[in-house]
Structures are given as structure tokens and as C-alpha cells.
Amino acid sequence: MWYFLMSDAFTFGAFLISYGTIRFSVNHWADPNQVFNAFPFAGHANLPLAFVSLMTFILIFSSVTMVLAVHEGHKMNRRGVEKFMVLTILGGLAFLGCQAWEWTHMITGDHTVLADGVLKTLGTTVTSNPWGIAADPNAVAAALQTTPDANLASIVHSLGHGGDAHAGAAMSRAEMISAIQAANLHVTTPGPIAFGGYFFGITGFHGFHVFSGVIINLVMLIKTRLGHFDERGHYEMIEKAGLYWHFVDLVWVFVFLCFYLV
């Protein structure tokens, strides 16, 4: 198991180092405090780092319940193992739920950017990155006049007036332009496309590890309930599943560092 984990560490390490290399090679990279500042049900409140800290604590806590399950296994206490395995699985699912929300928010969250002389909204995906440098305000003011109506409507929509999806549709062009001017948007230019690819690629690869960990833990829970480990006389499989689960937590510690903190 340890040697498998070592090889996996090299895979993650290679991804993260590749990310670091590309990040070092460009003049401007996305500022994590700008990108990751949202929290569920908090609307447009600026809460940098808050949600990802919650995810980090969820994963640390599920690591603790996992090690407690292993501990109960050493004492051959089946009920204890079951209890802590259930808690660990719940922690894993909570983490995956958080990640699903975060991804959805990033992909669908529209940000106004200045590109090719017009304004448009961009989400953060593997092919678009709205987190470039701040656009020149004069260029933005000029571009506003030449931006097509459809783009204006989606910018007005992204302002989130009343949450009405068709808020922009009923407005005239002049109304939309004045609404955008009044909103005093922080307009940027598109950033390096690599950002989305690395972010979704690496957190996705990690998320897939979490997902497989949840499946492995579920199998172990079922085997525990069926009494397989009592028959066998030891709970060593729980220990191996635990090693994998801690490794997932370990990788997150580094992902947290590389994408969110620095």
C-alpha cells in the first residue's frame, strides 16, 4: 500500500510542479483571494478563503474519524468501527458536495471582461479565464458603447438584480448601459487559459480520489457489518483503507497550499 501511495504522490507532485512551472512563466496569474471568495447562500459577499477552509476542516475531521475507526479495529470493537466508518463516509460526501458547489459556482459565475474591444461575461472553465489584469477604465467606457445587446444583457444578468433571469431582456440598450455604468464593475481582461485547466484538472483528480476513497470505505463498512473481519480475526483492511484516506487528506493539504493560499 505504501508503495502505491508513493507512486500516487509522484503523480500529484508532477501535476502540481507542472502547475507551478506554468504559473511562474506568466506575468500575471489569477489572485486566489479574488477567485475563491464566495460562500453558499452568502450572495456576493466577499469572503476569501472561507469556504475552502471549511472544506479543509471537513477533510481533516474525516481523517480523525478514520484513524479512530482503525483504532477501534485494533480493539476488535465492531460497533466502534462501524460508527466511525459511517462518520468518515459522511465527511467524504460532505467534501464532495462542497467541491460540486464550488465548481458549479466557478463555471457558471459570470465575470465581465474586456476582450477584442467589447465587453462580455466569462465563467472560469478549462477554456476561459476571466481573472486577468484590471482593464483600462477608458477602454472599458469606450467598449461599452460598441458591445452588442446580447452581451449587455448577460452582463446585466450577472449583476444579479432581483435574481430575475430576464431582468435584462425587458430593458432598452440605454437602460442596460446605464445599469452597467452604475454598477461600477471591476472589469478585467482574460487571464491565462491554463488556470482553469490546472485548477479543474488537479482538484478534479483529487476529487476523484476522494470519490474512490468513499467507495472503498463503503465496501469496508459493508464488510464490517457482515462480520468478515471478525471471522478473519483482524481489521487490517480497515487500516489499509485508512492509509488511502489519509493520503487523500495529505494531497489536499498541498492542493490547498498551491491553489488557495499562495
Partner: protein, 142 residues
């Protein structure tokens, strides 16, 4: 994964430090380290742009060092690697030391690409306009 009754993979002494005190202590240590990292992260955020290059870099290096400390606690206590026999530990840790070289070499490479791009491979002076303070990044992986 195998299902033998005797398990060659277990290489540590059968007697663990009993009691869950050590586990919870590690949990609090990890939480505290994460809280300090967050504190430093917020420090960088509030001071955004107001810090010198050196101070920003040292703060980020400090955060990376705290991350390595967290990794040590997870691997050593939660994963019980600290309880394994010494030779086993060495077969895992020594190959991972390669990462020190990888990180240094590749980040150096990345920086070199940036300089090449900005100077047109050395044929003109670097006139890159910095709209924002340079985003310095420290990538650490054990």
C-alpha cells in the same frame, strides 16, 4: 489488496500507543496549523500590494513550511508511518526527496520562460508593465 490471514505488509510493532489522546492531540495540532496558515493568508490579502517582494515571498515560504509540518503529522501519526520499522520508512521517504530537486528545477525553468518571453529571448530589455504586484508563488510538495 490481499486477504491473507498473516499479513506481510504490517511491519510495525503490534502495540500501538493505546488511547485516543494522541489522535485528538494531532487533530488540534493540525487545526491550529491550518488556522495559522489562514491567518497568514488573510494577512497577505489585507496587505495586498502593500508588502515588499521579499516579505510576501517569506510569508508564502512560511505557509509552505507549515504545510510540510501538517504533512509530517498526518503521515507520522494518522498513517502510523512513525511506528514502522526504520528501513521501511527510508524506502518511502528517500525517493520523495527527489521532489526538492524537481520543485527547484521546474520553477527555475518556468521563471526562465517568463524572462525569455518578456525580453524576446534576450534581444530587448524587459519592459513588462506590472499592473499589479507580481504574483509570486511557492509550490511545495513533499
Amino acid at each position: 489488496m490481499s486477504s491473507h490471514t498473516s499479513s506481510p505488509e504490517i511491519t510495525h510493532a503490534p502495540e500501538h500507543a493505546s488511547g485516543t489522546g494522541r489522535i485528538w492531540k494531532t487533530f488540534w495540532v493540525l487545526s491550529a496549523l491550518t488556522a495559522i496558515e489562514l491567518g497568514l493568508g488573510y494577512f497577505l490579502y489585507w496587505k495586498h500590494g502593500g508588502l515588499s517582494y521579499g516579505l510576501t515571498l517569506s510569508t508564502k515560504l512560511l505557509i509552505a513550511a507549515l504545510t510540510l509540518a501538517k504533512a509530517y503529522y498526518i503521515v507520522s501519526i494518522f498513517m502510523h508511518l512513525g511506528d514502522e520499522i526504520r528501513n521501511m520508512i527510508m524506502t518511502i521517504i528517500v525517493p520523495l526527496m527527489l521532489f526538492f530537486w524537481f520543485i527547484a528545477a521546474f520553477l527555475w525553468d518556468g521563471n526562465s520562460w517568463k524572462v525569455m518571453r518578456n525580453t524576446n529571448a534576450g534581444s530587448k530589455a524587459d519592459q513588462t508593465e506590472q499592473h499589479k504586484p507580481a504574483v509570486i508563488d511557492k509550490d511545495a510538495k513533499k
